[in-house]
Symmetry: C2
Subunit: 350 residues, 2 copies
DNA sequence: GATCGGGCTTGGAACGATCAACCCGAAGGT
DNA sequence: ACCTTCGGGTTGATCGTTCCAAGCCCGATC
């Protein structure tokens, strides 16, 4: 069953059509839509009536052409790698779409063109062609060159993530206080009576990883507890988390772990599973990101939850400043995460 | 630290600028971009050179206005509810973005405006205002009225999901063969030696749920195995999955469960955890959706994997037909899922 | 040598909105 | 009485591209 369809093309009503019906000029209709307070109440009502009658909807392309704006924000994001717990994108994307809508923007998804090695030409084109007004970029820690390129091109964008390389960078940014999150997790474990708390984190070249790690070490030191031989830095995979946990557990005998991600935490849980140890009771584990995995796991994985909804709000606020004329670039925003306590951090120690 | 920035507005080069540099007319430049084969090779080269020299990028708004097309596809999707394992959106969205790009389209995200109860006005506006050329709609099973509305408005859209109400609906659709997935899971368990296989699914009014369930019952019957008292229909939450499993386990004593979702399967695993039973060994469990949770869980959750990349490809193909002139609507496409075998379905029985 | 035709090129006119400037009458100040 | 101001509305120009119909050039044909 297939067919050729010929859609009737009764062309849509334009501003001029509405103007004629309402007995006013084009501009007045335009004002009725964009600056209603410029019109007298009775005129406004008459125009509105004509709009409703004709079912008029402004043509975006024409408006975009004239105003040199598209009210479209490009979201540059890479998908969560399979096999990791990392699914914050879903939540963040939705929060961003919602917040943007209330501000009159729509979100357009952009991913890297695998054929473009620099991964930047496409973005530049989108901006220059007025396809998007600005970008929201994530994964800033991974793409220093790209960020530099965007800045050099005077591209308009807001970063979810600090400008690690240049704290004084000229672009707006919003980030989560990663150290505070790890500190929260560590304090929580100390509060439960733990004194030997290990860290499983990312490689040293990960700025976020080091940031999170600093929260852990700072709190331990503040409580006079030792960090020596208690930390491991590995790749963000379940397998590395598992083996890092195995080594630390045998050598330093921690009673709890704080992990730089839920993925690594899952690695610890894999190890517990293998060794027949009970999560929470034999070993406390805290993850990071509050992924779906943390939420769904039997017993639940205690995890640091990123305030993605607030991040989205701050990003949209920054976008509005960026796109205002003259554009306004405020200071970077750092938001505190929270801790979701679940079974994996176990009961208070005897 | 905040500041007012005044960006230099060296206005972008236009078609006319390129034409002047290349010593040809606007139309020739336009042809060089859109119909290169209409030009003599040397002219084309000269134009291309001018384009590169000026760094010209066609203005989308102007093109959209003239051609009455935006090359933007609206993706209507709702976020995964927190606390469920359901994270297929991430993968599907990315697949769709990638496939669309190769076809020259971009994806714009759309969610329901909570203030608009019908949830349809917004979509209609977007189409009429030429903001998007067409929609991709998901969750078709949940929104019958919306689908009907879109059809009545002659809106252009492709559905991810069968037109359950009217199998002969006029819009293109792509769906996964849900029954086949459940059948795959059931066959797998039978192959492992199970004969008492339970079903935990969704309420009867869920068409997808019933479809998946039919795969399970069909296979059992084909093998002469009983389905009586072996099935339960509940909400898609971990808690309901857990209690459904508890009841079935006590009353019908199945040795394996096929679940309509990974979320429900996680419910079963929660129960095992409570009762101190071992997943896979004491009870085999198969989920549906191949979520990150299934992948990350210690031992792993065997699950039915949806061919989302292929779905995306078929959807884009359907979109291209829909947007061609005259538009072409092909028959619906049904794609087979696959099974990802992991620890939760356990070893071959005794 | 005039005509024809095909391949390229050309200027002008849309597409549908907003911007900038202007217009008009009534109110208020000097 | 005259000038200014201001609210409320109009008109022509413009954004940058593609469509349209006509024009040009050149070689081939009669």
């Amino acid at each position: 069953m297939s067919r050729i369809v010929n859609r009737g093309a009764a062309s849509a009503p334009t501003l001029a059509d509405v103007a004629e019906v309402a007995g006013v000029s084009r501009q007045t209709v335009s004002n009725a839509i964009n600056n209603p307070d410029l019109l007298r109440a009775d005129t406004l009502a008459r125009v509105q009536e004509a709009i409703d009658e004709l079912g008029y909807v402004p043509n975006r392309a024409a408006r975009n052409l004239r105003t040199r704006a598209s009210h479209l924000i490009g979201l540059r994001a890479r998908p969560a790698p399979e096999g990791t717990a990392h699914a914050l994108m879903d939540r963040f994307v939705h929060a961003l779409v919602d917040t943007s809508r209330t501000a009159g923007y729509h979100i357009m998804l952009v991913t890297d063109d695998p054929e473009d090695r620099t991964g930047t030409a496409g973005y530049d084109d989108l901006l220059r062609s007025t396809a998007v007004d600005a970008f929201v970029v994530t994964d800033t820690h991974l793409d220093q060159p790209q960020l530099a390129f965007l800045e050099s091109r005077r591209a308009r964008f807001v970063a979810f993530g600090r400008p690690w390389a240049d704290p004084d960078a000229g672009h707006p940014w919003v980030d989560v206080d990663h150290a505070a999150g790890a500190a929260l997790a560590t304090e929580h474990l100390i509060g439960l009576g733990h004194t030997r708390i290990g860290w499983i984190g990312w490689h040293k070249d990960s700025r976020i990883g080091e940031e999170r790690r600093s929260g852990w070490s700072r709190v331990l030191k503040a409580h006079g507890l030792s960090t020596t031989a208690m930390a491991s830095r590995v790749e963000d995979t379940i397998a590395s988390g598992r083996s890092a946990a195995a080594v630390l557990l045998d050598e330093a005998r921690p009673t709890a772990f704080v992990c730089a991600s839920d993925t690594l935490a899952m690695g610890v849980l894999h190890l517990l599973d293998e060794r027949g140890l009970r999560m929470g009771e034999d070993l406390a584990v805290v993850g990071y990101d509050d992924s779906l995995v943390a939420q769904c796991l039997p017993g639940g994985l205690t995890s640091v939850r990123l305030p993605l909804e607030q991040v989205a709000e701050e990003i949209v606020a920054a976008l509005e400043g960026l796109l205002a004329r003259p554009s306004y670039v405020g200071p970077g925003v750092l938001l505190p995460p929270t801790l979701r306590v679940r079974g994996s951090s176990g009961p208070r120690l005897g």
